[in-house]
C-alpha cells in the first residue's frame, strides 16, 4: 500500500482531519503511547480554523489573523516531534472517501495527492476518530450567485491563506458569531465594511445567560470583536438580512431589510447599501458523511443542524468509531481541542481528566446557547423568488423545488433531489442542502454521501478484489 505505516500490524488509531480536534487527538494519543495515523485533506495541519498563508506569500506573522495561535503552534510542534519519533504517521493531501469495516479493524480509502501525483491509498487502523469538521451553511437569496458574493468563512479563509480581500467595500451578512470575526479581519486587512448584517437579535442571548456567564473567556472574545467594530465605525445591524444582491458582472449593492422574529422581511424596511463584495454565511454545518456512511447515529442540535450522537468520551453509536469537534455539534476551536484530547484518553483506555470533562460541558452549553440564538427562522424562505437558483451546481430554481413539493409529491430533500437534480452536482448538496430541506418542509436529514469526495474511476477499478 502506498504511504501507509511501515509496520505490518495496523496502527492503533487513524484520525481523519488535522484541524483542532484531530490534531489535538493525535498528539495526545501519541503521548499516551498509541501509534497514530493522521490523515488530512489539507496540505498542512490546522484545518479550516488554523489556516496557513500559502508558502511563498512571505507572510511573517500568520498569527496576527488568528485567535489562539499558540494553542495550534504547540500542537504542531508536538506533531513534528511524534512524527520524528515514528509515533505518528502524518498524511497530508489525503482525502478519505470512505471508511469501511475490515474484520476487527477498519479500512480508510483515500485519494492521495493532486494532479499527476494523484494516487489511491488504503489505510488500516484498529480504531478511527472522525474529526471532519464542518462547512458553511448558505441560505440563498436573489443574486447570491453573482461574482464577489463569497462565504463569510470563505472570506476569512481567503484572508488567512492568500492574504487577499474579496473587495474594497465588503458587506458582511448572515448570522452567527463568525460574522464579527470576519468583519474585524477584513477591516484589519484594509477593507471598508459598510455594515455587518446579522439576522438574529443579540437579545436572543438573554435566554441563555447562565451558559454565557459560565464562559467568560468566550464572552471576552465576543467583546473584543465588538469593540474592534466600534473602533472602526462599523455599523452592526441586528435582526436584518441581505435579501438581494444587485449587479451584473459582480455585486454592486445589496438590499438589506429588517426581519420579524421568524426572519420574515418586514415590508417597507428595505434599503440599498453599495458595496463591491458581500461575505455571507449562516453558521456552520457538521460534515458527517463518513460517519453516517458507517451508520453512526445523529441528533438534532439547537442551531437547526444534525450532529453525531456522542457519549461523554466521544464514542459514536458504532463501536470502534469516535468523533470530536464540530461533528458533535458546532462549538468552535477551543471545544474541538478539548474533545480531541478527551477522545485520545478514552481510546487509549485512560481515565479522562475531570478538568477536561468539566470544560467540555461548559463550552458545549455555550455552543448550544449560541446555536439557539442564531438558528435560522422559518421565514427566510420568503427571500426566495421563484427564479432564484437554489442549487447552483445544477441551476435548480426555487420555483422548480416548490413545484416538486406542492405538485409532485416530494416531502423531503431526497425526493426533491430525485425530481429536480438539486444537490446532484459537484458539491453534492453541501451548498443547497439546508435550503432544499427547508423548502421541502423537512428537517435536516443525515448526510447521505457514500463517497465523501469525487473519486477517479480508475482508483475504484484498481482496488484489490475481495476474496482474491
Amino acid at each position: 500500500m502506498p504511504s501507509s505505516a511501515s509496520d505490518t500490524a495496523p496502527p492503533d488509531l487513524a484520525i481523519v482531519g488535522a484541524g483542532p480536534a484531530g490534531l489535538a487527538a493525535a498528539v495526545t494519543a501519541a503521548g499516551l503511547g498509541l501509534r497514530v495515523t493522521l490523515v488530512d485533506a489539507g496540505e498542512r495541519p490546522g484545518g479550516q480554523y488554523y489556516r496557513h498563508p500559502a508558502p511563498g506569500l512571505g507572510a511573517e506573522r500568520p498569527e496576527a489573523l488568528h485567535h489562539g495561535w499558540s494553542a495550534f503552534a504547540e500542537r504542531e510542534a508536538a506533531l513534528r516531534a511524534h512524527e520524528e519519533a515514528g509515533r505518528i504517521t502524518y498524511l497530508p493531501a489525503h482525502h478519505v472517501w470512505a471508511v469501511v469495516p475490515d474484520g476487527d479493524a477498519w479500512t480508510l480509502h483515500a485519494v492521495a495527492g493532486t494532479g499527476p501525483d494523484e494516487a489511491a491509498a488504503a489505510l488500516h487502523a484498529r480504531a478511527v476518530l472522525l474529526a471532519t469538521g464542518s462547512y458553511e451553511r448558505q441560505l440563498p437569496f436573489p443574486g447570491w450567485t453573482l461574482p464577489a458574493v463569497v462565504g463569510a468563512g470563505g472570506a476569512q479563509a481567503m484572508l488567512k491563506s492568500g492574504l487577499v480581500l474579496p473587495g474594497k467595500r465588503v458587506v458582511v451578512a448572515g448570522s452567527g458569531p463568525l460574522l464579527l470575526a470576519v468583519a474585524g479581519s477584513l477591516a484589519a486587512a484594509g477593507a471598508r465594511v459598510p455594515a455587518v448584517v446579522e439576522a438574529a437579535a443579540y437579545s436572543a442571548y438573554a435566554g441563555h445567560l447562565p451558559a454565557l456567564l459560565r464562559n467568560p473567556g468566550k464572552l471576552g472574545e465576543a467583546a473584543t470583536y465588538g469593540s474592534a467594530l466600534l473602533r472602526r465605525h462599523i455599523r452592526l445591524l441586528t435582526r436584518h438580512a441581505v435579501t438581494e444582491a444587485h449587479g451584473t458582472d459582480r455585486v454592486e449593492a445589496v438590499t438589506v431589510a429588517r426581519l420579524d422574529r421568524d426572519w420574515r422581511p418586514l415590508p417597507g424596511t428595505a434599503r440599498r447599501i453599495p458595496c463591491d463584495a458581500l461575505a455571507v454565511g449562516h453558521g456552520l454545518v457538521p460534515q458527517l458523511e463518513l460517519a453516517t456512511g458507517l451508520g453512526c447515529a445523529t441528533r438534532p442540535t439547537a442551531d437547526g443542524t444534525l450532529a453525531l450522537a456522542l457519549d461523554a468520551e466521544q464514542r459514536t453509536s458504532v463501536a470502534g468509531i469516535w468523533s470530536a469537534g464540530e461533528t458533535g455539534g458546532i462549538g468552535g476551536a477551543q471545544l474541538a481541542l478539548l474533545e480531541g484530547e478527551i477522545a485520545a484518553h478514552a481510546i487509549a483506555g485512560r481515565t479522562v481528566p475531570a478538568a477536561l470533562a468539566r470544560r467540555r460541558a461548559r463550552l458545549r452549553a455555550f455552543a448550544a446557547a449560541m446555536g439557539a440564538a442564531h438558528r435560522p427562522g422559518d421565514g427566510w424562505t420568503g427571500w426566495l423568488r421563484d427564479d432564484t437558483d437554489v442549487c447552483r451546481c445544477e441551476e435548480v430554481t426555487a420555483g422548480r423545488i416548490r413545484e416538486a413539493v406542492d405538485e409532485l409529491g416530494a416531502r423531503d430533500a431526497r425526493t426533491v433531489k430525485l425530481l429536480t437534480r438539486s444537490g446532484m452536482g459537484w458539491c453534492q448538496g453541501r451548498m443547497c442542502g439546508p435550503a432544499v430541506a427547508a423548502l421541502a418542509g423537512d428537517g435536516p436529514a443525515p448526510d447521505r454521501r457514500p463517497l465523501s469526495c469525487p473519486v477517479p474511476l480508475r482508483h475504484l477499478a484498481q482496488l484489490p478484489p475481495a476474496d482474491g
Binding site: 470512505a98 409532485l408 425526493t415 430525485l418 454521501r449 477517479p456 474511476l457 475504484l460 475481495a466
Partner: protein, 383 residues
Amino acid sequence: MSKRHPLDVVIIGAGVVGAAIAYYAARAGLSVAVVDRGPVAGGTTGAGEGNLLVSDKEAGPELDLALLSAGLWRELAAVLPHEIEYEAKGGLVVAPDEASLGALRDFAEGQRAAGVEAVEAGADQLRELEPHLAPGPVGGFLYPQDAQVQPAQAAARLLAASGASVHLGEEVTGILTGPGGVRGVRTRGGELLAPAVVNAAGTWGGRIAELAGVSLPVLPRRGFVLVTEPLPRVVRHKVYAADYIADVASGSAALQSSAVVEGTPAGPVLIGATRERVGFDRSLSVEALRRLAAQAAALFPFLADARVLRTYHGFRPYLPDHLPAIGPDPRLPGLLHACGHEGAGIGLAPATGVLIAAALTGARPPLSADPFRPARFAADPAG
C-alpha cells in the same frame, strides 16, 4: 385529497408501479386513492436508473409484458410532460468473443420470434454505433426498442396525471376486511374504504401481504449504481456486455455485476448495477464499486479518467422465479398484488397498470396475466 366520491380502489405504494396503476385505473373510470408511508418514488423507483429494456429478457411472459410496456411508454411520452425525459436511445449488447456472440445470436433469435427488434452488428458497426468503445468485442446486437425515462419524474407525472387522491406520509397499518373480503385500509391518519386494495409496495410488498394475512415471498436484491461527473455526450446507447443477461436471470444470492453504461441528458454517465441478496443492508460495498468501475472502464476506456461523483444503492423487489406478482389474490377477495418486478419495475409499470385496471373492471386484458398469479408460491395456490 377529497373523499367526496366513494373509492373504487386504494393503491398502496406511490412508486412507478402504483402511479401507473392509478393512471390506467382512473382512465378506466375508477375512483382511485394512492397511499404511501413516504413521498412519491421513495423506494426502489427513486433508486432506479429508468431502464425500459426488452434486450435483457428472454422470450417468455416477462418479455411479452416488456413489449406491451414499451409501446405504452411511447404513448405516455406523447401525453406526459417532457420532464419524464423519455429517450428511445436503444440498447447495445456487446459480445467479448465468438462463443458469447453465438449465445447472444440464439438468445436474439427467440426474442425476434416474440416481436423484439434485434439487429446484429459486426465489430466495425459497433465502433460506428459507439465510437469510444474499447477494441475487443467481436460483435453484438442493437435493440432499438430499449429506452429510458427519468424514474422519479415518470412516477410523479403519472400520479399527477391520474387525478387520484394521494395520501403521502401515511403508513398503512392494517388491511380492513369483512365477510365479502377487503373493505379498505387503515393508516395512521384514518381509514380509506374501498372494495379493492392493490399491493404496489414493491420491495416491501411482502409486508403488506402479511398485513392482509397472506404470504408473498418478496426479497430485497441490492444494487449499486455509480454516477460520474458530467461528461460530453459520448455514450449514445445503453451499452452492456452479454454476461449481464445471465446475471439478471441468476437466482444466486452472491454479488453479481456486469456494468450497463449510459450517458444522460444532464451529462453524468450512469454505471449500474450490481445484484446481491443481503437483506436491507445499507452499508457501502467497496467490492461492488470496484467491479462496476472495472467493467465500465473495460467497455469504455476513457471512463478510467472520469471522476465518480456519487454512488447510490437500492433494493429490487425479487421473487424466486424472477416474475412479478400481478393480479387478484384468490386467498382474499378484493386484494390484488402488483409487486416483485425486480429491476424492471420502471419498464414494466404501464403494462402492470393496464393488467390491474382490467382485473378491477372485468375488462379483457391485452395479454394473459396467468404467469404472474400472486398465489403461485403458496403451498395450496387455490387457497
